[in-house]
């Protein structure tokens, strides 16, 4: 029974592929009098699979985007002691449909002095990397869309494309605020890409592979619970996970790192001149990027689709992904925004050294013997001590810059 649900979509896909191949054979028989050659059948099957995967990913994550906006609005509302959207559909679930309909039908304004081509292309380009990133994540057991050997690198490489789009948007709009936003976006995203990649390096070191499927496989155990192998339980994994979360927040321009669109300072930053559906595309790219980052975080540190065998593997993946999304929303509901120089300083002076030190700690962990329980415990404690010590030293420097609560006097 568990296997049935676990492999439901895989089986469904295989059945559909089989159907298409059978149909192809039928057509071929009708035309040429004989079934397709093996190579042709293979090609048809592969092509069908690609189309299926694309349609599914876009369909599922477009829906997830809607749900995420709804979730964000509801969660922020609850944090702020109110209901949030609740008039459209049950619990306001159809709110994003209404927003979509409205966005689609809004007038599309292109400023007279804008660079028309760049202004037009930017929203299309911003969405592409956000969608492509999903291609490298294994969503469940046997459910990896692609199984590249260099999936992690490919993920980061594709994700870096969004900087270009944001810069195009800011530049093409010819608005002072949007240029400020664009420059901020580029500076921030390039800076945070480094700690982001470095946070993922320990995992790659331990697994010895850049393939996301293998990384997930390395975190699995065959037990019923299947949580023990997650990298987040190791000291370096935990530190890496925190680093990854922070860098991913910055990478997807989410509060408290949302300075490229910093509403209270530069209105809406790079997309200040975008209206209607183009604006919706930016919105969508932000959320999809955020979910892709969450997916990668799940893959790298939270055991991918592994989990107690109460839920199918793909459900575990989605659940963990949405938990990370919830965490990002929670952050947004709480924290103020950093200033642009502080943001850069934090990336270069705090996160980078800590990420490098984390790699060192991982190397120590790698070479420490872990055959017996006692040895594992010792290795765990030593690595943890290293990580904590590094954290304390760095936080000392950062808090000196950040300032401290003061003592106040009263007039006599």
């Amino acid at each position: 029974m568990y296997n049935f649900f676990d492999q439901l979509f895989v089986a469904l896909g295989a059945w559909l592929v089989g159907l298409v191949v059978a149909a192809g054979n039928g057509v071929s028989k009708l035309c040429c009098g004989q079934p397709m050659s093996e190579a042709a059948a293979h090609n048809v099957a592969a092509g069908t699979q690609v189309v299926l995967i694309c349609v599914t990913i876009y369909g599922v994550f477009a829906l997830c985007f809607g749900l995420a906006t709804w979730l964000e609005r509801k969660m922020l509302a609850r944090i702020q002691n109110r209901y949030g959207p609740n008039r459209v559909g049950p619990f306001g679930l159809l709110q994003f449909v209404a927003d979509g309909v409205k966005m689609l039908t809004k007038e599309d304004i292109v400023p007279a002095r804008a660079d028309k081509l760049v202004h037009f292309l930017a929203p299309a380009i911003v969405l592409a990397p956000a969608l492509l990133m999903f291609g490298f994540l294994p969503f469940g057991r046997n459910m990896a869309p692609t199984d590249l050997d260099t999936a992690v690198i490919a993920f980061f490489a594709v994700g870096a494309g969004s900087e270009l789009a944001l810069f195009m948007a800011g530049w093409g709009s010819r608005n002072k605020y949007s240029i400020l936003g664009a420059l901020r976006a580029v500076a921030q995203m390039i800076s945070y890409e480094i700690p982001l990649v470095l946070a993922a390096v320990p995992v790659v070191m331990i697994v010895g592979s850049l393939s996301t499927s293998q990384i997930v496989a390395a975190q699995g155990t065959d037990s019923f619970l299947d949580v023990k192998g997650w990298f987040v339980w190791t000291p370096w994994g935990f530190a890496g996970f925190i680093l990854f979360l922070i860098a991913a927040t910055a990478e997807s321009n989410r509060s408290p790192f949302d300075i490229p669109e910093g509403e209270s300072e530069i209105i809406a930053g790079f997309h200040v001149e975008y209206s209607g559906f183009k604006f919706a595309l930016f919105f969508m790219a932000e959320y999809l990027g955020m979910m892709a980052m969450a997916g990668l975080g799940v893959t790298l540190f939270l055991g991918g689709w592994h989990g107690p065998k109460l839920l199918p593997s793909w459900a575990w993946f989605m659940l963990k992904g949405f938990l990370i999304v919830c965490w990002l929303i929670w952050l947004r509901g709480t924290l103020p925004r950093l200033r642009v120089d502080q943001l850069m300083a934090f990336a270069w002076k705090a996160m980078l050294p800590f990420a490098l030190f984390n790699i060192f700690a991982t190397a120590v962990w790698f070479y420490l013997p872990k055959t017996t329980f006692l040895q594992s415990a010792v290795a765990w404690i030593i690595t943890a001590a290293l990580v904590v010590a590094a954290y304390l030293v760095i936080s000392r420097f950062v808090s000196r810059r950040a300032g401290a609560p003061r003592v106040y006097r009263y007039a006599s």
Partner: protein, 208 residues
């Protein structure tokens, strides 16, 4: 030219189709009114209070206050429009994409209110831009703003994509840009936009 029966029924069919698109369209716009984050004076505080926990405008899907006029649907003119501010208000309204709506919140926005006899106060924003809903009050309670929002939603429900009463956004004959007044030596120039400002009746209505 007489219309034959089959064409009529076909048109009716098309009409049915048009109506349902219209309904979906109106439903979407109605439930996703994003106001411009734009406060002028006292009423703006009540506008914020409306978005806050006690009254929670978010329930109607209208809590997404966009700071950029390009992404907003609704301009809540919340407070006194001074003559110095009026050109900017009109410009902001021009910058918003169609379909767009205006709520004049509070006495000052409708008519200049208590301050209307001042030399720098515009006697109502409807001298320059078309207003959909007026809320009297100084300031109106947050509930009154919610009531206005519901009134606006009801109005949107009755919008048409075609026909005589079609939306401004789909009417090529309608103006797309409103006149932005210039600062004059004594007053704004022109002091009112005659294409928008059509008081009816023209004078103090005399009771019998």
């Amino acid at each position: 030219m007489a219309m034959d029966e089959s064409l009529k029924s076909e048109l009716q069919k098309a009409g049915v189709f048009v109506t349902s698109i219209e309904q979906l369209y109106n439903w979407g716009r109605k439930n996703s009114i994003w106001p411009l984050q734009f406060g002028l004076a006292c009423c703006a505080i009540e506008m914020i209070a409306t978005a806050c926990a006690r009254y929670d405008m978010a329930r109607f899907g209208a809590e997404v206050f966009r700071p950029s006029p390009r992404q907003a649907d609704l301009m809540i003119v919340a407070g006194t429009v001074t003559k110095k501010m009026a050109p900017q208000v009109v410009r902001l309204f021009n910058q918003m994409p169609e379909p767009k709506y205006v709520i004049a919140m509070g006495a000052c926005a409708i008519s200049g209110g208590p301050f209307k006899e001042g030399y720098n106060v515009l006697k109502g924003i409807d001298r320059y831009i078309p207003v959909d809903v007026h809320i009297p009050g100084c300031p109106p309670r947050p509930e009154a703003l919610l009531h206005a929002l519901i009134t606006l939603q009801k109005q949107i429900e009755q919008d048409h994509l075609t026909g005589k009463r079609k939306l401004r956004a789909y009417d090529r004959e309608q103006k797309a840009e409103w006149l932005v007044p210039a600062y004059g030596e004594h007053d704004l120039e022109p002091p009112r936009n005659p294409e928008v400002w059509k008081p009816e009746p023209q004078v103090r209505p005399e009771a019998k």
